[in-house]
Amino acid sequence: MIIAKPKPVAKLVEFTEKFDKILLVGCGGCASVCAAGGEKEAAELAVALRHWRQKQGSALAVSTAIITRQCDAQYLDSIAKQVTRVDAVISLACGVGVQFLAECYAGKPVLPGLNTVLAGGAVQAGLWEERCGLCGNCMLHQTGGICPVSRCAKSIQNGPCGGSQHGKCEINPQMPCAWHLIYEKLLATNRLDLMMQYRSPKDWSKEHSVGAKPVRKKVLP
């Protein structure tokens, strides 16, 4: 799942200062699950933005809506009427949702209400961790099911580096060293041969950051 964090309210105040009527659009997908951009967060943000404008001695009309998934074009029509009545839209979805909305309502400013941070999952209530680096070339079969691309601070392929001590990463004593975890897993499963295996330089051209790549799959009519 995509994990996102709300932008600071002050930032959204800055985004909306030239508008009188805005629509906050929550997303029922990942953004709801990670408690960043669901119905509840949209309602709370609406109150905060109205209150802020009130303190300035004027009024900001804030309405809210929720879309099942903003990254899916078939759901976007549901807010068409509400969009016509406002000056700008704030999307509380990940960067994908913001762009789908901006494309669908091309004449309207669509602004991001969240910062999209990682692909991961909840490891405990209220705590999400990165688990995938979107490298396009999964190597989890070699690393005991632990991803060094997203979980090693240097994304190295032949770790652990010399900064790993007491099972923790050199950059943060709270953060487990991914390669230490990999070592222990492979040791426990009698696969230390995989630790000794030299992994040649990774093909980063499969990675997410190398231009917008399409993924195609045959769809039955």
Partner: protein, 309 residues
Amino acid sequence: MIRSSSKLEQVLNQARFAVTVEIGPPKHSSATGIIKLAEVLKDYVDAANITDNQTANVRLSSIAAGVHLHQAGLEPVIQITCRDRNRIAMQSDLLGAYSLGIRNVLCLSGDHQKFGNHPQAKGVYDLDSIQLVDMVRNLRDKQVFQCGEKIKQHAPRYFIGAVANPFADPFEFRVLRLEKKINAGADFIQTQCIFDMQRFEKFMQMVRQRGLHKKVPILAGVNPLKSARAAEFMQKRVAGMIVPDEIVERIRQAADPKAAGIKLCVAQIEHLKKIEGVAGVHIMAIDWEEIVPEIVERAGIKPGNYPAW
């Protein structure tokens, strides 16, 4: 077998106890200081490592500094980290450095950008340190770029160094990782600064069990402590170090901390000379490089006065 035209390789090949030193280039654009340092050091060491933006702080480039040292008569070992350059830039720099007379390279992952003066920089880490070693070896032995394209002429022939940190974890994997580096093409090894001699002895015992000391010369890292503050910094702030409390305490209690630091370093070198498989020492006296001649003299390891290893 001689692989390069490095003088350090010749020294190590003759099984002479080698001395290398570490020099941190300045945070400005004048080489006057390091050239002076080269004059002071050149008769006392076999080669000098030039750090590559150590602890992720911007400094004069290791290659440029290496050229200055080379011209001043001190053989440079340029360090290359994986933090700031991708495989294209690294290979380009390796060609360029070779064309300027540089013959030794030390391959490292590099301190994470978080530690330096530009923590917001994007870390590159296109390759890791072992892949870098492999790439430099292939430039030399197979005359191919990393992509496999043939280098038609003038392939760079480096003497390739790698590092080992006996003080990182998991301890029992450190010797195996060293072996991975040797298999990838490392010609010599320099270790992290040694303060915990017991742990290093254990590490070397495992090295000997696997016969790795016969495959590559290993230079043991030492660091003369200048003050109690420096000792504490090493103990608490430097990633991947172990400094026993008793050492920090010894420097702290000393009437003359500098003299105590030198004495300790000399004693460490005396000890290291006796460990089978230690082919030399690498003295890391960052910001205190001028003390190296005294340490070398007192430890009896001045080039030309080598014990065999």
